[in-house]
């Protein structure tokens, strides 16, 4: 589990290096969103199936996310650390789902 970033204001006056280090840590620990976008060919049943297969979601949750993609044009299907987000995005693209990654700000 990533360590929570510490507030850097306290260190800033005492040691500029500490400020730099803390900023970097903050950047790397921000979570990433895995976003699936609607497209003209993928079947709704297939999208649900892929969410179940890739994330291990139950059918109800997978179908709800699929409906959000279908109706809203996109859905955040997973949020978490970068490495895992990249892995999921790769898996979803391998199943031909239009997938992007967004850093949570």
């Amino acid at each position: 589990m990533p360590r929570s970033p510490q507030p850097f204001e306290k260190h800033a006056m005492a040691d500029p290096d500490t400020l730099t280090t803390t900023r970097q840590e903050t950047a790397t620990t921000l979570p990433w969103n895995v976003v699936v976008h609607d497209d003209p060919v993928n079947l709704t049943e297939y999208v649900t199936w892929v969410f179940m297969k890739v994330f291990g979601y139950g059918e109800k949750k997978a179908a709800a996310l699929m409906m959000q993609v279908h109706r809203a044009g996109r859905s955040i299907v997973w949020t978490g650390e970068r490495e895992k987000a990249e892995f999921y995005a790769q898996q979803l693209q391998a199943h031909q789902l239009r997938t992007s990654l967004e850093k949570v700000s």
Partner: protein
């Protein structure tokens, strides 16, 4: 063409004549007709500066190879079955292990057709706009779609 489930959980397609073989041969042909490879199109969605370069360098080529391999697999399976049937009546088998490759190739074929002809959602579809070429493409796309539905419902579940 008749499609039925096998005891092993795959599909058997009973091809009736040369017309059916032409339709099946159209799958790889359509899939490879896309103006922009699917892997590149998907790769363009990963555009965050921290990720884009590595994604283009490492992931896109892998995806491209996998998608092309799926299409090649289907092309080879159709060619083999066509040859064994002497171009006439005969079976084409899709095993459970093959199902994802077939689904992938069919998806690529439908995407390429949709890109070229822009049929759009069913509710907005206007048959009066169809030309001979786009009408034939629509029929192929509908057949591919039904084959995908079979694969999903019978083999991949």
């Amino acid at each position: 063409m008749r499609i039925q489930q096998t005891l092993e959980g795959g599909l058997r397609i009973d091809v009736m004549d040369g017309g059916d073989w032409n339709v099946l041969g159209g799958i790889p042909h359509d899939a490879l007709s896309a103006d922009e490879p699917l892997a590149e199109r998907l790769g363009a969605l990963i555009n965050h500066e921290a990720l884009a370069e590595d994604w283009q360098e490492f992931i896109v080529p892998d995806l491209d190879e996998a998608f092309r391999s799926d299409v090649a697999h289907v092309a080879a399976a159709v060619a083999e079955a066509h040859s064994q049937a002497g171009g006439g009546e005969g079976p084409l088998w899709i095993t459970r292990d093959d199902a994802m490759k077939w689904y992938s190739a069919l998806n690529q074929a439908r995407l390429a057709i949709e890109d070229r002809h822009r049929f759009g959602p069913e509710e907005d579809f206007d048959p009066a706009r169809l030309t001979a070429e786009s009408g034939a493409a629509l029929l192929r796309s509908m057949l591919y779609l039904n084959l995908q539905k079979f694969l999903l419902a019978v083999v991949m579940r």
